[in-house]
């Protein structure tokens, strides 16, 4: 849920990386933390088990000057992918402005991808949100591995909403597709925020001039 502070001239947005276990969600944030200039990003916080599996969430704050006159802060979160952590995923999803669904391209993980996507839809509904109107980007990850499904097949399997989402092929551990995914979801979030806000401003102005 966006948060605007006109005193500090700041706008906060929340982007959640969702997807099946071991799909590469944390790898996306780790790569971004590695390559982002220090003045643009905060620390990467990882709440993991001893086996480096995400236990609660990972958190990486980024900032940009993309909206004139304001600091736009994008707070990136991951969710734990393992099925037992469903309540945790629901908590982390609270107030998300945009979602990156990180799908695992290996043939063996297609059922896991589909299950996670259904879980995302159910959790959005539990928050009173619609899957079709929430900014979403599919990242088809692990494209460097052998035995992977063709991208068109994965799009057919996953991208079946009323509105077709953007799909980005990626190898997150090497950084391929990570920046493109981030920029696409941020642009979608900004477009929705600006459209909603500016529509309200024009309504208020019309009322004031009437």
């Amino acid at each position: 849920m966006s948060f605007v502070n006109f005193d500090k001239k700041e706008i906060n947005f929340k982007v959640v990386y969702y997807g099946p276990p071991m799909g590469g969600k944390t790898s996306n944030l780790a790569y971004l933390h590695d390559v982002m200039p220090a003045e643009v990003r905060g620390d990467l916080t990882m709440l993991s088990t001893q086996q480096d599996r995400t236990l609660y969430f990972d958190f990486l704050p980024l900032q940009s000057t993309v909206i004139k006159g304001f600091i736009s802060r994008f707070q990136l979160y991951t969710v734990p992918g393992q099925p037992i952590y469903d309540r945790t995923r629901r908590i982390v999803l609270t107030g998300a402005d945009g979602i990156v669904f990180v799908a695992d391209s290996q043939w063996s993980q297609m059922t896991s991808n589909a299950d996670s996507l259904e879980n995302l839809k159910a959790n959005l509904v539990s928050h009173g949100r619609s899957f079709d109107t929430t900014p979403l980007v599919f990242q088809l990850n692990k494209r460097d591995l052998p035995d992977i499904a063709p991208a068109p097949y994965m799009e057919f399997l996953l991208n079946r909403g009323a509105t077709k989402a953007d799909c980005v092929e990626a190898t997150a551990v090497k950084g391929n597709g990570v920046a493109e995914t981030l920029n696409r979801i941020c642009k979608m979030v900004l477009a929705q925020f600006i459209e909603e806000h500016n529509m309200k401003v024009s309504v208020v102005r019309r009322a004031e001039s009437a």
Binding site: M1, S2, F3, V4, N5, F6, D7, N12, D34, V35, M36, P37, A38, E39, V40, G42, D43, T45, Y56, F57, F59, P61, L62, Q63, S64, T65, V66, I67, K68, I71, R73, F74, Q75, Y77, T88, I91, V92, T94, G95, R129, K174, G175, N176, V178, A179, L182, N183, C186, K187, L190, Q192, F193, I194, E196, H197, N198, V201, S202, V204, R205
Partner: protein, 174 residues
Amino acid sequence: MTGLTLDIEQARALNRVVTDLLVQAEASVVLLTDIGGNVLAQAPQRNDPHLQTMAALAAGAFSATRELARLTGETAFRSVSHEGEQTSLFVQSLNEDFLLVIVFQRTTTLGLVKLYGRQAATDLAPMLGEVRHQAPVSSAFGPFTLDETSAAVFDLPAPGSLRGRAVRPPLRTG
């Protein structure tokens, strides 16, 4: 989807309450956050990126305790306390949507923090009610516009090149 919007007067009024709480409770940091971890007000006023992370973690941890409350048959836990050797942290729920996060040292006591925390919660309740239910924008602040000179929201080097180098000038942070 409707976000939260603070105008200048609201932001400053909230900051006054948390600053008073910081002084009275002799705390080292006070954050007013929403349940998503956004910082609505803070004391002291300093640009510290760790406070943003602290807010996100505190909000996440408090949400987890709500689930624990549910599992134990309780409606909600009102507060959570983390006691350390030198530094402690107290999180108080103001309502379903907002939290007070108070960091304090051994020089003060949990009792004092709770006492003034309750008083601040009373002062904040009507103000937060107004924030939650107000029209989300004021015409005085006009429409938002994108900086058309930026091709991307974040300019990043191609994978494998320029790793770790700044690719855009430093941002204004204060």
